[in-house]
């Protein structure tokens, strides 16, 4: 049991405070496997954090019902970082030092992850990322205790680019959010367009928090392109799609986006119709494991699983595979086991790569359309690419061919 006590010294003296964390407790038995999960539950990234939390809780519940992992119950220690890197470091330290977690999930934003990873060695903690897309995490900022189970930014951009090589579009524009992820992905895209011998007519970056995209829409129209690559997320993405729909931009220009997710579709409704793009996970993936997962998920949450819920579940399964192989959660034993972990996940065959701890996996291109069984438009898979196609060379963010 976690105690809850407060010790207060005189006015300015130190305050040592321990509060009851948000912990899922499980029945007695062995020492539980404690996994810390600092992530944004409030603030603009809160939506994604909530998805990740659901994914992890679902996995833990499923596993604990079957007797736990290597016979031990799983205990998740979830903390809210509000999407702020400084708070994330503090909360990560909290779950490591106060709650004795040496396994970490969570950290929605790449900026949060980048701030935490330098400390993983000191904390002797392993972090299995389910969402961070920044190429540098398996590149220049790589640390041995970091593992990425999800599709990265360069990978999803590569998926789009490979699909575009065969598509009829010739001239492109690119619009991205003006920060690391936007620049990273558009940089890769630029490279890819050149290799495909097509034309990137222009690039523009919008500040985070842009509410009115009319100027950017004008630029895209004026450029005379037939497709536009978008690297936007959250509110900015929703605002752009709503407004592009207003101007009927989609009639002239095929909008291609980095991440297509159900939340965004429900926020913008018909404005999402016709949108094409890469997705990291979609509930329509056709394999028995995914079908079972979707059915079980619907039973539990009465909703279809979205991108980050699926990705988190896969990340949990990767960690599980590593722990089962190592029969231990000790970092030094777990690391080599994770480096060679491979699973048949809800997305097909996924194998961790030892050289940069990136999980090699296939990518999906989807297009949003109306389907009779579902009330709202859904992403339908229009192309699939293999892991070898889309995963960059070790520690790289760009591709050779």
């Amino acid at each position: 049991m976690t105690n809850s006590y407060t010790r207060r010294a005189a006015m300015r003296a130190g305050l040592a405070v321990m509060a009851a964390p948000m912990v899922q407790r499980h029945a007695l038995g062995d020492e539980p496997i404690r996994i810390g999960m600092p992530l944004a539950l409030t603030g603009p990234a809160g939506e994604i954090g909530l998805q990740m939390r659901h994914g992890a809780e679902f996995w833990a519940k499923e596993l604990n019902a079957k007797g736990g992992l290597i016979g031990r119950p799983i205990e998740l220690h979830v903390e809210d970082t509000a999407g702020d890197p400084a708070t994330c470091v503090r909360k990560a330290q909290l779950v490591v030092e106060r709650d004795n977690c040496h396994l970490l999930f969570g950290m929605v934003l790449s900026s949060e992850a980048l701030a935490v990873v330098p400390k993983l060695a000191e904390w002797n903690a392993i972090f299995m990322s389910s969402d961070n897309g920044d190429g540098r995490l398996t590149g220049s900022s790589f640390v041995p205790n970091f593992f990425r189970a999800n599709i990265s930014g360069p990978m999803e951009t590569r998926a789009i680019s490979l699909w575009l090589r065969k598509a009829e579009f010739k001239k492109f524009y690119a619009l991205g959010m003006d920060y690391a992820w936007g620049h990273n992905s558009i940089g890769v895209f630029e490279d890819e367009v050149k290799k495909a011998k097509k034309d990137l007519v222009g690039t523009v970056y919008s500040p985070i928090g842009t509410k009115d995209f009319s100027t950017y829409i004008t630029k895209i129209r004026q450029s005379g392109v037939d497709a536009c690559f978008l690297v936007l997320q959250g509110d900015d993405n929703n605002a752009f799609l709503s407004q592009a729909h207003e101007y009927r931009l989609g009639d002239k220009v095929q909008l291609i986006t980095s991440i297509v997710d159900l939340n965004s579709i429900s926020a913008v409704g018909d404005a999402a119709l016709g949108l094409a793009g890469s997705t990291r996970y979609v509930f329509t993936i056709d394999n028995p494991k995914n079908k079972a997962f979707v059915a079980a998920w619907q039973k539990e949450y009465n909703a279809l699983p979205d991108v980050f819920e699926g990705e988190q579940y896969q990340a949990c399964q990767m960690l599980q595979a590593g722990i089962e192989a190592a029969k231990s959660i000790d970092a030094d034993k777990l690391r080599p086991a994770l480096e060679s972990a491979a699973i048949d996940s809800i997305k097909g065959h996924v194998a961790m790569r030892a050289c940069d701890h990136q999980a090699v996996q296939g990518g999906y291109i989807v297009k949003v359309g109306k389907v009779p069984e579902y009330k709202t438009p859904i992403p339908q898979i229009i192309a699939t690419l293999t892991g070898d196609d889309i995963t960059p060379p070790c520690r790289q963010m760009t591709f050779e061919d």
């Binding site: 300015r12 809210d80 030092e97 980048l114």
Partner: protein, 309 residues
């Protein structure tokens, strides 16, 4: 003075009694305390309400971060140098902002801070843009002392800086310079008519305030090991202003307590519930309604009540 000595002694014993995570929280609380106290010089003693004090912190943090990452200047000197950088930039900023007064002054500070944020956000080479600087090391202190690199050692460095800054500020506000500041606070026109160049005093207090705020930022960079643009954002400026008000303006000690209170309560609450913002906001509203002099005001009232009782 005696109480101060007692409190400092208790704080000095903290590493022996507190678990590591609590030590980290305490160190950060002291850093924020220094930051809040620096703002009090402007807000509490001169009635210069700044909505852009995050600029001081950010400047100090980025300067220290760059120095620690790219040079081998010893830790203690790096921190002092970074604080000085912040103070020097402040002179220019203050020169422009003091062209106005009252609400307009506050708005100018906001404008500057946001501009600095915008610049930092785009200037990848120096600030790492939206990612900030990561992996900032704690380089060895002067004369090869490695004491400050450890958790307890760094804590003592922070404590020493806070105590030194506090003593400095207290002497400052009790000096003739401080008297002029209070004159500006109470009635600037009259102080001006008495022959004081109030604008110069204002510029000076902003520069001092920024230097100390920059010191706090410079301590933060090696403490957390990273800096990012959130440290320059207007929300952070708002938060430190709240810390000062909650603690009690114009008291120097109040803001330090306010900062510790703010940090610890927000940490506690966010661990306890997703709806921490609700309770946090409610606490502020209650404070305003029932404890207008802030925490320090409550404490002094309680002390005077119990001593007369």
């Amino acid at each position: 003075m005696r109480i101060l000595a007692v409190v400092v002694c208790v704080l000095a014993l903290a590493p022996a009694g507190l678990p590591p995570y609590a030590m980290t929280l305490l160190t950060e609380a002291l850093i924020l305390g220094l930051f809040a106290m620096s703002l009090d010089l402007m807000v509490g003693y001169t009635r210069l309400l700044s909505f852009g004090h995050a600029a001081a912190y950010g400047l100090g943090a980025y300067a220290a971060g760059n120095l620690l990452l790219h040079t081998s200047i010893p830790l203690v000197f790096t921190i002092l140098l970074a604080a000085l950088c912040s103070g020097v930039v402040a002179i220019g900023v203050a020169w422009v902002c003091t062209l106005a007064s009252g609400v307009s002054f506050s708005m100018l500070t906001l404008a500057f801070a946001q501009l600095l944020y915008a610049v930092a956000f785009k200037w990848t080479a120096v600030t790492g843009a939206s990612d900030g600087l990561a992996g900032i090391p704690r380089s060895p202190g002067p004369f090869g002392i490695t004491f400050f690199e450890g958790r307890a050692g760094f804590y003592y460095l922070v404590l020493a800086c806070l105590v030194a800054a506090f003593i400095f500020c207290r002497s400052l506000v009790r000096s003739p310079f401080g008297a002029v500041l209070r004159g500006i606070r109470e009635n600037e026109a009259k102080t001006l008519s008495l022959g004081y160049n109030t604008r110069r005093y204002k510029i000076a207090v902003v520069a001092i305030s920024f230097t100390l705020g920059g010191l706090a930022g410079a301590l933060y960079a090696p403490f957390a090991g990273f800096t990012n643009t959130e440290l320059l954002f207007w929300l952070f400026s708002g938060q430190v202003l709240i810390m000062v008000i909650v603690g009690g303006t114009g008291t120097l000690i109040g803001p330090i307590i306010g900062a510790a209170f703010f940090m610890l309560v927000s940490n506690l609450l966010s661990s306890w519930t997703d709806s921490w913002a609700l309770f946090f906001g409610a606490i502020f509203i209650l404070f305003v309604l029932f404890a207008p002099q802030g925490i320090w005001g409550l404490a002094t009232r309680w002390r005077s009540l119990s001593s007369t009782g």
